[in-house]
Symmetry: C2
Subunit: 209 residues, 2 copies
Protein backbone atom coordinates (compact mmCIF):
# COMPACT_ATOMS: atom_id res chain seq x y z
CA UNK A 1 0.00 0.00 0.00
CA UNK A 2 1.60 3.28 -1.00
CA UNK A 3 1.72 6.57 0.82
CA UNK A 4 -1.09 8.19 -1.20
CA UNK A 5 -3.65 5.51 -0.46
CA UNK A 6 -2.99 5.81 3.23
CA UNK A 7 -3.27 9.58 3.42
CA UNK A 8 -6.45 10.96 1.88
CA UNK A 9 -5.68 14.64 2.69
CA UNK A 10 -2.84 14.98 0.20
CA UNK A 11 -2.52 18.74 0.44
CA UNK A 12 -2.36 18.61 4.23
CA UNK A 13 -5.66 20.54 4.51
CA UNK A 14 -7.47 17.78 6.37
CA UNK A 15 -10.16 19.84 8.04
CA UNK A 16 -12.02 21.02 4.89
CA UNK A 17 -11.92 17.51 3.45
CA UNK A 18 -13.24 16.03 6.68
CA UNK A 19 -15.94 18.70 6.91
CA UNK A 20 -17.00 18.05 3.33
CA UNK A 21 -17.16 14.32 3.93
CA UNK A 22 -19.11 14.81 7.14
CA UNK A 23 -21.59 17.15 5.45
CA UNK A 24 -21.97 14.69 2.57
CA UNK A 25 -22.63 11.82 5.00
CA UNK A 26 -25.27 13.91 6.80
CA UNK A 27 -27.01 14.66 3.51
CA UNK A 28 -27.03 10.97 2.56
CA UNK A 29 -28.61 10.13 5.92
CA UNK A 30 -31.27 12.78 5.47
CA UNK A 31 -31.99 11.72 1.86
CA UNK A 32 -32.32 8.12 3.07
CA UNK A 33 -35.28 9.18 5.25
CA UNK A 34 -36.82 11.30 2.50
CA UNK A 35 -36.64 8.52 -0.12
CA UNK A 36 -38.08 6.02 2.37
CA UNK A 37 -41.07 8.24 3.12
CA UNK A 38 -41.76 9.79 -0.28
CA UNK A 39 -39.99 7.65 -2.83
CA UNK A 40 -37.53 8.99 -5.37
CA UNK A 41 -39.36 9.36 -8.68
CA UNK A 42 -41.81 12.07 -7.73
CA UNK A 43 -39.30 14.42 -6.12
CA UNK A 44 -37.28 17.12 -7.85
CA UNK A 45 -33.77 17.88 -6.65
CA UNK A 46 -35.18 21.15 -5.25
CA UNK A 47 -37.81 19.30 -3.21
CA UNK A 48 -35.21 16.87 -1.90
CA UNK A 49 -32.93 19.77 -0.94
CA UNK A 50 -35.81 21.40 0.92
CA UNK A 51 -36.66 18.16 2.73
CA UNK A 52 -33.07 17.49 3.79
CA UNK A 53 -32.67 21.11 4.87
CA UNK A 54 -30.10 22.40 2.42
CA UNK A 55 -29.97 24.34 -0.84
CA UNK A 56 -30.25 22.58 -4.15
CA UNK A 57 -26.86 24.05 -5.14
CA UNK A 58 -25.28 22.44 -2.07
CA UNK A 59 -26.90 19.11 -2.95
CA UNK A 60 -25.61 19.31 -6.51
CA UNK A 61 -22.18 20.37 -5.25
CA UNK A 62 -21.92 17.22 -3.11
CA UNK A 63 -23.51 14.69 -5.47
CA UNK A 64 -23.68 16.14 -8.97
CA UNK A 65 -27.17 14.76 -9.69
CA UNK A 66 -30.33 13.30 -8.17
CA UNK A 67 -29.33 9.86 -9.45
CA UNK A 68 -25.92 10.04 -7.81
CA UNK A 69 -27.62 10.90 -4.52
CA UNK A 70 -29.83 7.83 -4.87
CA UNK A 71 -26.75 5.75 -5.55
CA UNK A 72 -25.08 7.11 -2.41
CA UNK A 73 -28.19 6.20 -0.38
CA UNK A 74 -28.17 2.65 -1.79
CA UNK A 75 -24.45 2.26 -1.07
CA UNK A 76 -25.00 3.41 2.52
CA UNK A 77 -27.84 0.93 2.88
CA UNK A 78 -25.64 -1.95 1.66
CA UNK A 79 -22.65 -0.98 3.78
CA UNK A 80 -24.81 -0.84 6.84
CA UNK A 81 -26.98 -3.91 6.38
CA UNK A 82 -25.27 -6.17 3.88
CA UNK A 83 -22.12 -7.79 5.27
CA UNK A 84 -23.13 -9.02 8.74
CA UNK A 85 -25.97 -11.15 7.32
CA UNK A 86 -23.55 -13.20 5.25
CA UNK A 87 -21.40 -13.80 8.32
CA UNK A 88 -24.43 -14.87 10.31
CA UNK A 89 -25.51 -17.38 7.66
CA UNK A 90 -22.10 -19.02 7.59
CA UNK A 91 -22.04 -19.15 11.41
CA UNK A 92 -25.54 -20.31 12.16
CA UNK A 93 -26.99 -21.68 8.91
CA UNK A 94 -29.88 -20.33 6.92
CA UNK A 95 -32.79 -21.76 8.91
CA UNK A 96 -31.65 -19.92 12.03
CA UNK A 97 -30.43 -16.79 10.30
CA UNK A 98 -33.55 -15.65 8.45
CA UNK A 99 -35.71 -15.32 11.60
CA UNK A 100 -32.77 -13.59 13.35
CA UNK A 101 -32.50 -11.10 10.48
CA UNK A 102 -36.24 -10.42 10.79
CA UNK A 103 -35.82 -9.66 14.49
CA UNK A 104 -33.03 -7.27 13.62
CA UNK A 105 -35.07 -5.66 10.83
CA UNK A 106 -37.86 -4.81 13.28
CA UNK A 107 -35.36 -2.32 14.76
CA UNK A 108 -34.47 -0.56 11.48
CA UNK A 109 -37.80 0.67 10.18
CA UNK A 110 -36.22 3.40 8.02
CA UNK A 111 -34.15 0.89 6.03
CA UNK A 112 -37.07 -1.49 5.59
CA UNK A 113 -39.34 1.36 4.50
CA UNK A 114 -36.71 2.52 1.98
CA UNK A 115 -36.41 -1.01 0.59
CA UNK A 116 -40.16 -1.41 0.18
CA UNK A 117 -40.64 2.01 -1.39
CA UNK A 118 -37.77 1.76 -3.87
CA UNK A 119 -38.45 -1.86 -4.79
CA UNK A 120 -42.01 -1.03 -5.85
CA UNK A 121 -41.06 2.23 -7.52
CA UNK A 122 -38.21 0.63 -9.45
CA UNK A 123 -40.39 -2.02 -11.11
CA UNK A 124 -40.34 0.24 -14.17
CA UNK A 125 -37.13 -0.55 -16.08
CA UNK A 126 -36.58 3.19 -16.60
CA UNK A 127 -36.06 3.75 -12.86
CA UNK A 128 -32.36 4.39 -12.16
CA UNK A 129 -32.32 1.77 -9.37
CA UNK A 130 -34.11 -0.92 -11.41
CA UNK A 131 -31.06 -2.93 -12.49
CA UNK A 132 -29.32 -2.58 -9.16
CA UNK A 133 -32.35 -3.77 -7.15
CA UNK A 134 -33.10 -6.59 -9.57
CA UNK A 135 -29.49 -7.78 -9.35
CA UNK A 136 -29.45 -7.47 -5.55
CA UNK A 137 -32.63 -9.55 -5.40
CA UNK A 138 -31.26 -12.26 -7.69
CA UNK A 139 -28.05 -12.41 -5.65
CA UNK A 140 -30.10 -12.84 -2.50
CA UNK A 141 -32.19 -15.62 -4.10
CA UNK A 142 -29.01 -17.34 -5.33
CA UNK A 143 -27.30 -17.18 -1.95
CA UNK A 144 -30.39 -18.50 -0.14
CA UNK A 145 -30.66 -21.24 -2.77
CA UNK A 146 -27.07 -22.40 -2.29
CA UNK A 147 -27.59 -22.49 1.49
CA UNK A 148 -30.73 -24.57 0.96
CA UNK A 149 -28.81 -27.00 -1.26
CA UNK A 150 -26.39 -27.46 1.62
CA UNK A 151 -29.31 -28.07 4.01
CA UNK A 152 -30.80 -30.57 1.57
CA UNK A 153 -27.51 -32.47 1.26
CA UNK A 154 -27.19 -32.52 5.04
CA UNK A 155 -30.62 -34.13 5.18
CA UNK A 156 -32.21 -31.25 7.05
CA UNK A 157 -34.98 -30.41 4.55
CA UNK A 158 -38.35 -32.08 4.18
CA UNK A 159 -38.62 -34.59 1.31
CA UNK A 160 -39.53 -33.17 -2.09
CA UNK A 161 -38.50 -29.57 -1.38
CA UNK A 162 -36.88 -27.73 -4.28
CA UNK A 163 -34.13 -25.32 -3.17
CA UNK A 164 -34.79 -22.79 -5.92
CA UNK A 165 -38.55 -22.72 -5.30
CA UNK A 166 -37.93 -22.40 -1.56
CA UNK A 167 -35.37 -19.65 -2.12
CA UNK A 168 -37.89 -17.56 -4.06
CA UNK A 169 -40.59 -18.31 -1.50
CA UNK A 170 -38.34 -17.13 1.34
CA UNK A 171 -37.40 -13.98 -0.57
CA UNK A 172 -41.06 -13.25 -1.32
CA UNK A 173 -42.08 -13.99 2.25
CA UNK A 174 -39.46 -11.58 3.58
CA UNK A 175 -40.61 -8.81 1.20
CA UNK A 176 -44.28 -9.45 1.90
CA UNK A 177 -44.08 -9.78 5.66
CA UNK A 178 -42.00 -6.59 5.85
CA UNK A 179 -44.75 -4.81 3.96
CA UNK A 180 -47.39 -6.13 6.40
CA UNK A 181 -45.23 -5.04 9.32
CA UNK A 182 -44.73 -1.57 7.87
CA UNK A 183 -48.54 -1.21 7.98
CA UNK A 184 -48.91 -2.81 11.39
CA UNK A 185 -45.90 -3.25 13.63
CA UNK A 186 -47.70 -5.77 15.82
CA UNK A 187 -47.04 -8.31 13.02
CA UNK A 188 -44.16 -10.44 14.31
CA UNK A 189 -41.93 -10.86 11.26
CA UNK A 190 -39.54 -13.32 12.90
CA UNK A 191 -42.42 -15.56 14.02
CA UNK A 192 -43.72 -15.86 10.45
CA UNK A 193 -40.31 -16.69 9.01
CA UNK A 194 -39.61 -19.12 11.85
CA UNK A 195 -42.90 -20.91 11.12
CA UNK A 196 -41.88 -21.23 7.47
CA UNK A 197 -38.49 -22.66 8.43
CA UNK A 198 -40.28 -25.17 10.68
CA UNK A 199 -42.47 -26.18 7.72
CA UNK A 200 -39.50 -26.96 5.48
CA UNK A 201 -37.28 -28.54 8.14
CA UNK A 202 -37.30 -32.32 8.25
CA UNK A 203 -39.58 -33.53 11.07
CA UNK A 204 -38.20 -34.80 14.42
CA UNK A 205 -36.86 -38.32 14.38
CA UNK A 206 -35.80 -38.04 10.74
CA UNK A 207 -33.45 -35.16 11.43
CA UNK A 208 -30.02 -36.67 11.99
CA UNK A 209 -30.36 -39.89 10.02
CA UNK B 1 -86.76 -0.26 -5.25
CA UNK B 2 -88.34 2.99 -6.42
CA UNK B 3 -88.52 4.57 -9.86
CA UNK B 4 -85.66 7.01 -9.28
CA UNK B 5 -83.11 4.35 -8.33
CA UNK B 6 -83.90 2.41 -11.49
CA UNK B 7 -83.67 5.33 -13.91
CA UNK B 8 -80.46 7.35 -13.57
CA UNK B 9 -81.24 9.81 -16.42
CA UNK B 10 -84.03 11.59 -14.62
CA UNK B 11 -84.32 14.54 -17.00
CA UNK B 12 -84.65 12.29 -20.02
CA UNK B 13 -81.39 13.62 -21.53
CA UNK B 14 -79.67 10.24 -21.61
CA UNK B 15 -77.07 10.91 -24.26
CA UNK B 16 -75.06 13.60 -22.42
CA UNK B 17 -75.21 11.53 -19.25
CA UNK B 18 -74.00 8.46 -21.10
CA UNK B 19 -71.24 10.43 -22.82
CA UNK B 20 -70.15 11.91 -19.51
CA UNK B 21 -70.10 8.47 -17.89
CA UNK B 22 -68.17 7.00 -20.81
CA UNK B 23 -65.61 9.81 -20.70
CA UNK B 24 -65.28 9.41 -16.95
CA UNK B 25 -64.72 5.65 -17.32
CA UNK B 26 -62.04 6.25 -19.95
CA UNK B 27 -60.25 8.69 -17.65
CA UNK B 28 -60.33 6.20 -14.78
CA UNK B 29 -58.82 3.53 -17.07
CA UNK B 30 -56.07 5.90 -18.17
CA UNK B 31 -55.34 7.05 -14.60
CA UNK B 32 -55.15 3.39 -13.56
CA UNK B 33 -52.17 2.92 -15.91
CA UNK B 34 -50.54 6.18 -14.82
CA UNK B 35 -50.77 5.38 -11.09
CA UNK B 36 -49.45 1.85 -11.71
CA UNK B 37 -46.40 3.17 -13.58
CA UNK B 38 -45.63 6.33 -11.63
CA UNK B 39 -47.43 6.09 -8.33
CA UNK B 40 -49.82 8.69 -7.03
CA UNK B 41 -47.96 10.82 -4.49
CA UNK B 42 -45.43 12.44 -6.79
CA UNK B 43 -47.88 13.56 -9.47
CA UNK B 44 -49.79 16.81 -9.59
CA UNK B 45 -53.30 16.89 -11.04
CA UNK B 46 -51.79 18.75 -14.03
CA UNK B 47 -49.24 15.98 -14.65
CA UNK B 48 -51.93 13.32 -14.37
CA UNK B 49 -54.13 15.23 -16.84
CA UNK B 50 -51.21 15.43 -19.26
CA UNK B 51 -50.48 11.71 -18.91
CA UNK B 52 -54.11 10.68 -19.43
CA UNK B 53 -54.40 13.06 -22.38
CA UNK B 54 -56.91 15.60 -21.10
CA UNK B 55 -56.93 19.04 -19.52
CA UNK B 56 -56.68 19.45 -15.78
CA UNK B 57 -60.01 21.33 -15.82
CA UNK B 58 -61.67 18.31 -17.46
CA UNK B 59 -60.16 16.01 -14.85
CA UNK B 60 -61.39 18.23 -12.01
CA UNK B 61 -64.81 18.50 -13.69
CA UNK B 62 -65.19 14.70 -13.68
CA UNK B 63 -63.66 13.90 -10.30
CA UNK B 64 -63.41 17.07 -8.23
CA UNK B 65 -59.96 16.23 -6.82
CA UNK B 66 -56.86 14.08 -7.23
CA UNK B 67 -57.95 12.01 -4.23
CA UNK B 68 -61.37 11.33 -5.73
CA UNK B 69 -59.67 10.13 -8.91
CA UNK B 70 -57.55 7.72 -6.86
CA UNK B 71 -60.70 6.49 -5.15
CA UNK B 72 -62.35 5.88 -8.54
CA UNK B 73 -59.30 3.88 -9.64
CA UNK B 74 -59.42 1.76 -6.49
CA UNK B 75 -63.16 1.16 -6.89
CA UNK B 76 -62.60 0.04 -10.50
CA UNK B 77 -59.85 -2.31 -9.36
CA UNK B 78 -62.13 -3.89 -6.75
CA UNK B 79 -65.12 -4.20 -9.08
CA UNK B 80 -62.98 -5.90 -11.66
CA UNK B 81 -60.92 -8.23 -9.51
CA UNK B 82 -62.68 -8.62 -6.19
CA UNK B 83 -65.89 -10.63 -6.44
CA UNK B 84 -64.95 -13.61 -8.60
CA UNK B 85 -62.18 -14.67 -6.20
CA UNK B 86 -64.62 -15.09 -3.36
CA UNK B 87 -66.84 -17.27 -5.55
CA UNK B 88 -63.86 -19.39 -6.57
CA UNK B 89 -62.83 -19.96 -2.94
CA UNK B 90 -66.31 -21.16 -2.00
CA UNK B 91 -66.42 -23.44 -5.06
CA UNK B 92 -62.96 -24.95 -4.98
CA UNK B 93 -61.54 -24.27 -1.52
CA UNK B 94 -58.57 -22.13 -0.61
CA UNK B 95 -55.73 -24.56 -1.40
CA UNK B 96 -56.84 -24.74 -5.04
CA UNK B 97 -57.94 -21.15 -5.40
CA UNK B 98 -54.77 -19.27 -4.49
CA UNK B 99 -52.63 -20.86 -7.24
CA UNK B 100 -55.52 -20.32 -9.70
CA UNK B 101 -55.69 -16.64 -8.76
CA UNK B 102 -51.93 -16.38 -9.35
CA UNK B 103 -52.35 -17.85 -12.84
CA UNK B 104 -55.07 -15.28 -13.49
CA UNK B 105 -52.93 -12.45 -12.09
CA UNK B 106 -50.15 -13.24 -14.57
CA UNK B 107 -52.59 -11.94 -17.22
CA UNK B 108 -53.37 -8.61 -15.52
CA UNK B 109 -49.99 -6.97 -15.13
CA UNK B 110 -51.45 -3.45 -14.90
CA UNK B 111 -53.58 -4.31 -11.87
CA UNK B 112 -50.74 -6.12 -10.13
CA UNK B 113 -48.37 -3.24 -10.81
CA UNK B 114 -50.92 -0.77 -9.42
CA UNK B 115 -51.34 -2.87 -6.28
CA UNK B 116 -47.59 -3.09 -5.69
CA UNK B 117 -46.98 0.60 -6.32
CA UNK B 118 -49.83 1.89 -4.17
CA UNK B 119 -49.27 -0.59 -1.35
CA UNK B 120 -45.66 0.57 -0.91
CA UNK B 121 -46.47 4.25 -1.39
CA UNK B 122 -49.37 4.12 1.07
CA UNK B 123 -47.26 2.79 3.97
CA UNK B 124 -47.21 6.41 5.20
CA UNK B 125 -50.42 6.93 7.19
CA UNK B 126 -50.85 10.32 5.50
CA UNK B 127 -51.38 8.69 2.09
CA UNK B 128 -55.07 8.93 1.11
CA UNK B 129 -55.22 5.21 0.29
CA UNK B 130 -53.50 4.07 3.52
CA UNK B 131 -56.60 3.16 5.52
CA UNK B 132 -58.37 1.60 2.55
CA UNK B 133 -55.39 -0.61 1.62
CA UNK B 134 -54.71 -1.59 5.20
CA UNK B 135 -58.37 -2.57 5.67
CA UNK B 136 -58.43 -4.47 2.36
CA UNK B 137 -55.33 -6.38 3.44
CA UNK B 138 -56.76 -7.25 6.85
CA UNK B 139 -59.99 -8.43 5.23
CA UNK B 140 -57.98 -10.65 2.90
CA UNK B 141 -55.99 -12.10 5.82
CA UNK B 142 -59.22 -12.70 7.77
CA UNK B 143 -60.96 -14.44 4.87
CA UNK B 144 -57.93 -16.66 4.17
CA UNK B 145 -57.72 -17.42 7.89
CA UNK B 146 -61.36 -18.52 8.10
CA UNK B 147 -60.87 -20.77 5.06
CA UNK B 148 -57.80 -22.28 6.71
CA UNK B 149 -59.78 -22.94 9.89
CA UNK B 150 -62.25 -24.87 7.75
CA UNK B 151 -59.38 -26.84 6.16
CA UNK B 152 -57.95 -27.57 9.61
CA UNK B 153 -61.31 -28.83 10.90
CA UNK B 154 -61.66 -31.00 7.80
CA UNK B 155 -58.28 -32.55 8.63
CA UNK B 156 -56.62 -31.28 5.48
CA UNK B 157 -53.80 -29.26 7.10
CA UNK B 158 -50.49 -30.54 8.38
CA UNK B 159 -50.29 -31.00 12.17
CA UNK B 160 -49.29 -27.95 14.17
CA UNK B 161 -50.18 -25.34 11.55
CA UNK B 162 -51.70 -22.13 12.89
CA UNK B 163 -54.38 -20.67 10.57
CA UNK B 164 -53.61 -17.05 11.42
CA UNK B 165 -49.85 -17.48 10.91
CA UNK B 166 -50.51 -19.32 7.63
CA UNK B 167 -52.97 -16.65 6.50
CA UNK B 168 -50.35 -13.91 6.95
CA UNK B 169 -47.71 -16.06 5.29
CA UNK B 170 -49.95 -16.63 2.26
CA UNK B 171 -50.76 -12.92 2.03
CA UNK B 172 -47.07 -12.02 2.28
CA UNK B 173 -46.11 -14.68 -0.23
CA UNK B 174 -48.67 -13.36 -2.73
CA UNK B 175 -47.40 -9.78 -2.32
CA UNK B 176 -43.76 -10.82 -2.50
CA UNK B 177 -44.01 -13.21 -5.42
CA UNK B 178 -45.99 -10.64 -7.40
CA UNK B 179 -43.15 -8.19 -6.82
CA UNK B 180 -40.59 -10.76 -8.05
CA UNK B 181 -42.75 -11.44 -11.09
CA UNK B 182 -43.10 -7.73 -11.87
CA UNK B 183 -39.30 -7.63 -12.12
CA UNK B 184 -39.01 -10.91 -14.03
CA UNK B 185 -42.07 -12.43 -15.66
CA UNK B 186 -40.37 -15.81 -16.02
CA UNK B 187 -41.08 -16.29 -12.28
CA UNK B 188 -44.05 -18.68 -12.16
CA UNK B 189 -46.26 -17.21 -9.43
CA UNK B 190 -48.74 -20.10 -9.41
CA UNK B 191 -45.96 -22.67 -9.03
CA UNK B 192 -44.62 -20.93 -5.91
CA UNK B 193 -48.05 -20.68 -4.30
CA UNK B 194 -48.86 -24.26 -5.25
CA UNK B 195 -45.62 -25.43 -3.62
CA UNK B 196 -46.62 -23.59 -0.44
CA UNK B 197 -50.07 -25.20 -0.45
CA UNK B 198 -48.38 -28.59 -0.85
CA UNK B 199 -46.20 -27.83 2.17
CA UNK B 200 -49.17 -27.10 4.43
CA UNK B 201 -51.47 -29.84 3.12
CA UNK B 202 -51.58 -33.01 5.13
CA UNK B 203 -49.35 -35.70 3.55
CA UNK B 204 -50.79 -38.54 1.43
CA UNK B 205 -52.23 -41.39 3.44
CA UNK B 206 -53.30 -39.06 6.26
CA UNK B 207 -55.49 -36.99 3.95
CA UNK B 208 -58.97 -38.44 4.24
CA UNK B 209 -58.80 -39.98 7.69
Amino acid sequence: MDQETRAPGRTGKRAPYANGARKRAELVEAAFQVFAEKGYLGLSIRQIAEDVGTSHTALLHHFGSKEALLEAVLVLREEREGPWRKELISERGLLETVPAVMRHNAGIRGVIHLDATLKAEAISPEHPAHDFLFRRNEEFVASVCSELERELEAGRLREGCSPIILARQITALVDGIQLSWLYDDSVDMAEHLQAFMDLIRKGDGEAEA
